[in-house]
């Protein structure tokens, strides 16, 4: 075996996440339930958020505050975020009641939890960069809260430039990386089986 780091990485990847697991064409029978759809619905909403966000970033506030098309894309961005959170919270409820951390899936659960927190931070900074009276009011209410925690000088909610960069660059990058890692972990371990699912090896032992 080659000692090159690329070969080691390739071998490790192929061992842990072969292409059959990464892009499967079938799933276990227990996945045939509506509750298993909410993870991919969350991803779909995130795709719409990113796509509309890119359009808003290119065209700018003078476009999305004034033109009909701009208002439409602004609304698409906003409402896809609402759906993103609805789908994500239902996904979270479903996985909580399935105890989805079973079967060595702790890291999958934890990355999901961190993605949830990163999403909240991204959404809150989004409310601060609307460049409307609403965002102005929110930032001036929020500054007192952050100042009382002693982080106001470092995380300045009234600083539009800082909030905008966090919202369009730093936080989406963090959220994107966590989401990719989360999905790869789901592919590696497979979808968590129901609690009453008896593993095949136990069935064989009983029979």
């Amino acid at each position: 075996m080659s000692e090159m780091w690329t070969a080691k990485l390739r071998n490790k990847w192929q061992k842990n996440l072969p292409i059959e697991k990464l892009l499967p064409d079938d799933q276990p029978a227990y996945v045939v339930s509506w509750i298993y759809l909410f993870g991919v619905l969350t991803l779909s909403a995130l795709a719409v958020i990113i796509a509309t966000g890119v359009v808003l970033a290119f065209e700018g506030p003078a476009w999305y505050h004034v033109s009909h098309a701009g208002k439409f894309f602004n609304s698409l961005h906003f409402w896809s975020v609402q759906l993103f959170f609805v789908f994500m919270v239902i996904h979270l409820w479903g996985k909580f009641w399935m105890a989805a951390w079973r079967g060595n899936r702790t890291a999958t659960w934890m990355t999901g939890a961190v993605a949830f927190v990163a999403s909240i931070a991204t959404a809150f900074t989004g409310y601060l960069v609307q460049t409307t009276f609403d965002s102005q009011w929110i930032s001036f209410e929020a500054k007192d809260g952050f100042n009382s925690m002693g982080v106001g000088a470092w995380f300045t909610v009234t600083n539009l430039g800082q909030m905008l960069l966090l919202h369009v660059a730093f936080l989406p990058l963090i959220l994107g990386v966590i989401t990719v890692v989360h999905v790869l972990m789901v592919r590696k371990r497979g979808v968590v089986p129901p609690i009453d699912e008896v593993p095949n090896f136990l069935v064989e032992v009983k029979s």
């Binding site: 339930s33 509750i35 239902i90 497979g190």
Partner: protein
């Protein structure tokens, strides 16, 4: 904006209060909607295809 939706949107939110708990009716409706969707997703059977392959968990 005109019509009932305009009337509905153009006033401050109505809040429900139980002691220290307070929530706007809008937020309460969204939470109830999510709980309803969650319940339906668990209860309603997923339509299965006739030629569906049964795959054993490895």
């Amino acid at each position: 904006m005109t019509g009932w939706f305009s009337d509905f949107m153009n006033h401050h939110a109505t809040y429900l209060k139980w002691g220290w708990i307070q929530i706007s009716i809008s937020n309460l409706l969204v939470i109830l909607l999510m709980l309803t969707i969650f319940t339906l997703a668990v209860v309603i059977p997923f339509p299965s295809q006739k030629n569906e392959k049964k795959v054993d968990r490895k």
